[in-house]
Symmetry: C2
Subunit: 280 residues, 2 copies
């Protein structure tokens, strides 16, 4: 009973005053050494509850797989995700509800389908930054089909709403060489960079400042282990390249490839060499 009572009183009571510096239970803690307690005030607002709640959403294998799949930026149906993660539809449904409640996903009901999608660029950034901290450098693909598919993905792909893979990195590097992007001191579009977006791509500076989202961000690539351009600039760039048919999606996946027109255009605009960038 003792243990039952303690756990039951802990769970609810812990919420408001868990990490409060004052208000320790001296009776219980005294035996364990109150003297060792840090005197100064700990971290002010207690975010531990929210942090753990958020982390718990990703702490399940199936939900994590869902989120990573959705990192392609498109909407998936519940059934597709269930098949992808190899769980029963009922299980997938429950997971999706939790992810939506948690604010990571949004849904759009359409007929008998339930389309889900990442809730926005912020969520994509969150997932990117967390996955960027996973050490292991990826596993080699098995089988011919998987190998070619994975090679295509390594060449170029979309990462939520911008370009990644060797293509994304090559574009980023070319922009840095031309002085459009500052990669030395951090990650930022230069003045000439903004002019280039306007002049070369017809993207005005206004279109680059969308709310709180940063104009330029570095996004770590899991195939290249290098940064590529993300943020509004990265999104607009990808958008425009698709529009002008300089890149094209391969099949229905997230892999993209450079078209012949794109090759010449990007060579002109950025001095991008398709072969040197490893895009052939």
């Amino acid at each position: 009973m003792t243990s039952a009572k303690r756990t039951s009183e802990r769970a609810p009571a812990a919420a408001p005053e868990r990490a409060e510096p004052r208000g320790w239970d001296p009776g219980r803690r005294a035996a364990a050494g109150t003297a060792s307690a840090r005197p100064g005030p700990p971290v002010a607002p207690d975010h531990s509850h929210e942090l753990s709640r958020l982390a718990a959403l990703l702490a399940d294998r199936t939900r994590a797989a869902f989120c990573l799949a959705l990192l392609d930026g498109r909407a998936w149906t519940a059934g597709e995700l269930a098949a992808y993660a190899r769980v029963a539809p009922s299980t997938a449904s429950e997971h999706l509800s939790r992810l939506i409640d948690g604010g990571l996903l949004v849904e759009r009901r359409q007929g008998r389908h339930r389309y889900v999608q990442l809730a926005g660029p912020r969520v994509a950034e969150l997932l990117e930054s967390v996955t960027a901290h996973l050490d292991p450098p990826a596993t080699a693909p098995r089988g011919l089909r998987a190998a070619t598919a994975s090679a295509a993905l390594a060449r170029g792909r979309t990462c939520y709403d911008h370009l990644a893979g060797r293509l994304g990195v090559a574009l980023t590097d070319a922009m840095a060489v031309r002085g459009l992007l500052d990669q030395d001191g951090g990650f930022a579009l230069t003045d000439t960079g903004r002019e280039w977006f306007e002049g070369a791509l017809g993207i005005p500076s206004d279109a680059l400042r969308a709310g709180r989202r940063p104009q330029a961000r570095g996004c770590l690539d899991w195939t290249e282990r290098r940064q590529h351009l993300a943020g509004t600039a990265g999104a607009r760039l990808c958008e425009r390249l698709l529009e002008r048919r300089w890149i094209r999606r391969i099949g229905t996946g997230r892999a993209v490839r450079l078209t012949p027109e794109g090759t010449t255009a990007l060579r002109e605009l950025l001095g991008l060499d398709e072969e040197a960038a490893g895009l052939v």
Copy 2:
């Protein structure tokens, strides 16, 4: 038994081929609708397992509290953390072992003490970026002592190895105004910024490029909801200000305050106005 068998065969078998596009169990999935399965190859390397493993480390309230407390960049003993999170020492010990195994923390045993610390700037960045995605704008402090302590923290504090709070934001803004930092196009130190570090602070450019860590990074502040300077530049800056006694720690906590010498020095160097910045 069916369910027992499935779960037991799922756990180990899932690891290598969970998210494989091919190799589905047609018999089982067929009934649930294989036709809806996305044709193209899903995300190439399956990171879902590692992602969920990492997230699980933070998915517990107590462990999350540990990590947030350790965000002050200093080493805590196991007992201190136990008292802080109000759990039994045995419980804290187990959590610490898990966090260390997971690579988030490192330990330094010293006599009968076990000091733990964040494993490095990368872990600090990870925690920052995750906590930055927590919506609620913090709760108001209760009580006078808590209020003054929290006010001091809001004025200025360390955030792992750099400065945060109004002080951190004000410094960042002042640097941006002076053209030392580019906040418009992203977040990067400019050429003049690097010169300033060398000339005004005596920090050579070499000291700013330490391995893979970015020179300048934006770190979102939970009190200000604004970005402040992080990365090697932020760390060196904080270090140097402490060295020159322009700022000083308040008590043993992570709060810092501007000294009189610091006030004049920063007014000269950056045009920083203590009052306008809300530091009084």
